[in-house]
């Protein structure tokens, strides 16, 4: 393997091993020693790529942030109505998190950094605003029932997504997050959408009857 490829592979191995530990234990309780043992690397190899545990966490947070930007763009280009777009993005996020420990760890690290550190601008507030923009657009198109507050719907969806992820993470390493998030969507969207709205897009959604 050329040296550049080997360096890339080592960096990825570190990120993956760190993600496994962060995902299970969170930032504070993850030790660099455990990460190195998991990756089969020396401290020297580690410090060639990252100056600290915090720097690995930053890289994982950065990676999940990039992924959300890509995911939003990929759903935007499908041209679906806003509620169907939201449904698709939530469902795909959960699917990806269940399948990818690197993503899951980045999401956890990012959220842990916020929750419990008062005064830090909250990722969750940012997400609520972002989700609210879709629901407001749905309201403008007449896709919401009269009297439904779009921002309240965004708060419910964000809260439910966060709590579902945490419970799913603690009990099944997010294996049941895809089904949990679809349950949430199936319990909320039909309740707030107008009678004429229908879920569109090629997604395997479990809607209530």
């Amino acid at each position: 393997m050329p040296q550049q490829d080997r360096a890339y592979a080592t960096r990825e191995a570190i990120l993956h091993a760190a993600a496994e530990e962060f995902d299970r234990l969170g930032y504070e309780r993850t030790s660099l020693t455990a990460v190195l043992a998991r990756a089969g690397l020396t401290k020297g190899a580690f410090y060639f790529h990252f100056p600290s545990k915090a720097a690995v966490a930053d890289a994982l947070i950065e990676r999940q942030s990039e992924l959300w930007a890509q995911l939003r763009e990929s759903w935007r280009t499908r041209g679906l109505d806003p509620l169907s777009t939201l449904h698709g993005m939530f469902a795909e996020s959960a699917d990806r998190m269940a399948a990818d420990v690197v993503l899951r760890a980045g999401v956890r690290l990012n959220a842990d950094r916020e929750v419990g550190y008062p005064g830090v601008p909250s990722t969750h507030v940012m997400w609520e605003k972002l989700i609210a923009a879709y629901v407001i657009e749905a309201a403008e198109r007449g896709d919401l029932r009269p009297g439904v507050d779009p921002e309240a719907v965004a708060r419910t969806l964000c809260g439910a997504a966060l709590g579902s992820r945490l419970i799913s993470s603690a009990t099944t390493a997010c294996a049941d997050f895809p089904s949990r998030i679809r349950e949430v969507l199936g319990h909320v969207l039909p309740c707030v959408a107008s009678a004429g709205w229908k879920l569109s897009g090629s997604q395997t959604a479990s809607e209530p009857s």
Copy 2:
């Protein structure tokens, strides 16, 4: 003040000061020094009442656990239908947590103990089972729409309650938790309840139109 009363007051002052710190910072980042400074007490006074920081946390967790038992009992005796009982219990829990830092800290400590410690029997799983029992009873009475899975409803409600609490805690010290939880209930219950179900009980609920 008689000595016994003074001892009680000191113990309560410790619990309250510790709750303020735990509620803001969580268990790990709370220092005994900060708790003592907040309570205006010496280490000696502290150790007369509690052997350790962990023991104070245990007392706070125990107290919230007792409160939930009382709250469930008080709603049981009202003899409302199960979905109205659930609505009332969720709403009252949020009201109490917004008003009481001792309760709020106990809930946070209890939840933090679970989330992120894999293998620990999860409070959330226990709550989901408990909530599911109400929703199953609602189904048996014909209060749910055909095809709605009671356990899925319990998962959605528990996830949404957890996530709403965390976001509310990080952004407003739970001040907006009462309105957030009522939004969740208003977005989910009408969606899963049968057409004939109506919220009953003397509760200030915000239901969707």
